[in-house]
Point group: C2
Chain length 494, copies 2
């Protein structure tokens, strides 16, 4: 099984390395991700959403990534040409495959179609620290309902899902806005060209970074930044600038109070009134579902991307924080988002199909939970390790692990050929709770010796008081063989 | 969000279709696969195997699929060139990424390294009915132990894992063989060229299809098949042919009896004796672990691929069967396999590293279980559907689904805009157990009406006796609102 080059006849040894931007995930990471996905899936299914998984590839044109005047697909995706010359690309999100699936199966689907999905997505981008080219997303979407209540369900489900995933109440908040509000306001102010609207959205999106006065400049004539670069503004009139700033600052904590504030600002615009009515109905449904003001708020400053969304938009913001090496507080910010998009299925069918959804980054949430000391799934413990002293006693060792496994306790016989100390080191590396020793004398006497490795680790780290612990949980004990399972259970606390 | 070509300015509408050989999986399929994977993972973790997941891509040279004298990787994989010109390919199995990972991290891994993994693999092959280019595999391997007991653990774990996945005892059997037995026999017979050994393996692999006399011809001078094609034989002497045929037919039901038979046939060959000793130790460990003769047998006719394996080989054979359209019995055959491979890590490091593992096809097992009427996870039920009569009552509908969900019952409000009949049809398509009706009168009276949809389906299919069922479970009942959860629980039997 070695590859050889033709000339010279030398053995070719590839370097063992993973491609850039692709991570190997060990037990701890996987445990965290699986715990999150199981908890969220249970919530989503309770909301009546059915699971769907599409293949890794889509045709590039179906992804909207195909440029008809070019013979290569867009950058940003991993694309290759199939043997029938069609370009395929790995999915870069879970929404585009849903749109393709819904368009393909629309006639036979139960409608509205409610589905959730999770799995890897791929982005052909420059990798960096914490930036991967493959990561896990989890999405839920309703296709075929224009009702604001469909948005409300998605929001409520996102709230419940993130709490089930391990975010304690108050550790995240769903922020809701509606594109129609700002659109209506701009139309009423006569600033309704597509370019001007886009410039306004871009300006508002910088509120966090530039503050109100910075955004004011970008909404008006433009802004000169510290490096001397000038950014041309949206060119709104002074009155319109004031209105936009009033709007984005209309957040008042509770949803009802914010909606009152918004009503004052957008009054008189048909599109704004429509957006306001939608938000009111979302608020009512959320209240019926028991989603309180600290779980989901209305925040008019949320932009959530520049295109694509046509009505309600939502963003899940993590309020968890951690501290960096220098002791500074680090916040995690957005963990996911979504909103109403009515044109994705129309790309295929030509028929506008209202849809709404929410997506969050599973790997990102797992990392945030860990950094905040709230790791999903807890530590991935290793198995109880039976020390291998003597090949002749292997059958006995296997009986012991068989007993432990039958009792639901992960266990294994050490299957290397090293001596006692490396075996103990192995058990320690695996985070094993205990090592079992079964020498010839013990087998003859019908006993077994158990070494409590947790205790050893706790004593070593100074967590446990030596004398007190030893009285309660001796570091090493020899007991009758029949008491093995009970003694191990006591150590692992199960 | 529509793509337009430059000239003529017409809307481009891609056809909604999935790439050939890639399946969309709906709730039922996913439920079956997830049930299998959860059950198998629990068993593997109880055996002390830790989870690992590597990225979808490996460098093509690491997969052993790179031909140094060609500028394109081998066929059979999905490959593309990264922006630094290195060829990457999607993994085609989970063993090659493990070998790369183990070689890359060998110094810091606990050794022996026991890991399990599951996930999609990709094969760039011609798709066909039931043949996909993406499917789910589940693997477990021990890297760094030459002990036959490591093979035994893998075998025992495969047996327990497949039973946990839903295969009842007796529905599958693990068949064990050892490459060294036939090798030793051939060496003793003077037929030890690589070409001759390969020809013998190929011949033995056809035992099922050609029978003993067909294989006898292929082991000797050759065989003329019915179409008139001649296959050149392995050229063994008559005595050696008899020995090989004695060997492959040495299976005797119980492991001990088969080992006795094998001992008689391979006696006198050092490599054969070594293989026999390994099988004896595997048998002893399996017996200690409580794996009986009907769960794992020794079968000298198992070949399991032509290259790659260096010692013990195993194959999991499904004994389940179903009948095709014509009423003929259809057996499923092999569902997975594995064995000892000592050279995979050496491809990278140059150091032979003993390893052993087992792999099975998750999608394939799910399909077999379904065909045999033993579907993993059972039916994917839909949610209880609250009928939407009146927009004004939406808040009330949402309170009802909130109550049901809080009780752990999947539920949703119908969020389309259709009338009563389409809503009932929707609930039926979702396989909903019940529909909830809450009109203005009911809201005023504090009642709720429940329609038992399971009953409707059972009556329609003739399963249930109309009168008897109606007495026990009325098809439609109006009850006090406070009794809603209890009444729904009764219908879904939870």
């Amino acid at each position: 099984m070695t590859d050889t080059t033709d000339t010279p006849a030398e053995t070719f040894r590839p370097e063992a390395r993973s491609p850039r931007g692709f991570a190997d995930k060990r037990a701890r990471d996987l445990r965290a991700e699986r715990t999150i996905l199981e908890a969220v899936s249970a919530v989503y299914e309770r909301y009546g959403f059915e699971a769907l998984d599409t293949g890794a590839f889509e045709y590039a044109d179906a992804l909207g990534k195909f440029l008809p005047d070019s013979d290569r697909p867009n950058e940003g995706v991993f694309a290759l040409q199939d043997d029938d010359d069609q370009w395929m690309a790995l999915r870069y999100d879970l929404t585009a495959p849903l749109a393709r699936f819904a368009a393909q199966n629309w006639e036979t689907l139960p409608k509205p179609f409610r589905r959730y999905a999770f799995g890897p997505v791929w982005r052909n981008e420059k990798p960096g620290p914490g930036r991967f080219r493959q990561f896990i997303q989890c999405d839920a979407d309703t296709v075929g309902s224009a009702r604001p209540e469909a948005d409300a369900e998605i929001i409520a489900m996102a709230v419940e899902g993130l709490e089930a995933a391990g975010l304690p109440r108050g550790a995240a908040v769903l922020k809701i806005n509606n594109r129609k509000l700002l659109n209506g306001l701009l139309t009423a102010a006569g600033a309704d060209s597509a370019g001007q609207k886009l410039a306004v959205l871009r300006a508002v999106d910088k509120l966090d970074r530039l503050g109100v006065e910075g955004v004011r400049l970008l909404l008006g004539e433009g802004r000169l930044d510290e490096s001397g670069d000038f950014t041309k503004g949206a060119g709104l009139t002074g009155k319109a600038v004031d209105q936009v700033l009033d709007f984005v600052q209309a957040g008042a904590g509770g949803r009802a109070a914010t909606l009152d504030n918004i009503a004052r600002v957008v009054a008189g615009s048909a599109e704004g009134d429509e957006g306001l009515l939608e938000l009111s109905r979302i608020d009512a449904a959320l209240s019926s579902l028991g989603i309180a003001d600290d779980q989901a708020i209305v925040d008019p400053s949320i932009v959530r991307g520049l295109e694509y969304y046509t009505g309600a938009v939502f963003e899940a913001e993590l309020l968890l924080s951690t501290t960096d090496e220098k002791g500074n507080k680090v916040t995690f910010g957005s963990i996911g988002g979504g909103g109403r998009y009515d044109d994705l299925v129309a790309r295929f069918t030509g028929t506008v199909t209202p849809a709404t959804g929410f997506s969050f980054g599973v790997s990102r949430l797992a990392a945030a939970l860990r950094a905040a000391g709230q790791e999903a799934g807890g530590l991935a413990r290793g198995p109880v390790v039976v020390i291998a002293f003597d090949d002749a006693h292997m059958p006995e060792y296997f009986k012991v692990v068989g007993e432990l496994r039958a009792a639901g306790i992960p266990a294994e016989v050490y299957l290397g050929t090293s001596g006692m100390r490396p075996q103990m080191k192995y058990a320690d590396r695996r985070l094993s709770p205990a090592a079992i020793m079964l020498g010839g004398d013990e087998i003859a006497a019908g006993t077994v010796t158990i070494k409590d490795l947790d205790l050893g680790r706790e004593l070593a780290s100074g967590v446990a008081d030596n004398a007190a612990w030893k009285a309660e949980r001796p570091g090493q004990q020899t007991i009758p063989r029949g008491e093995l399972v009970a003694a191990v259970r006591k150590i692992i606390g199960s």
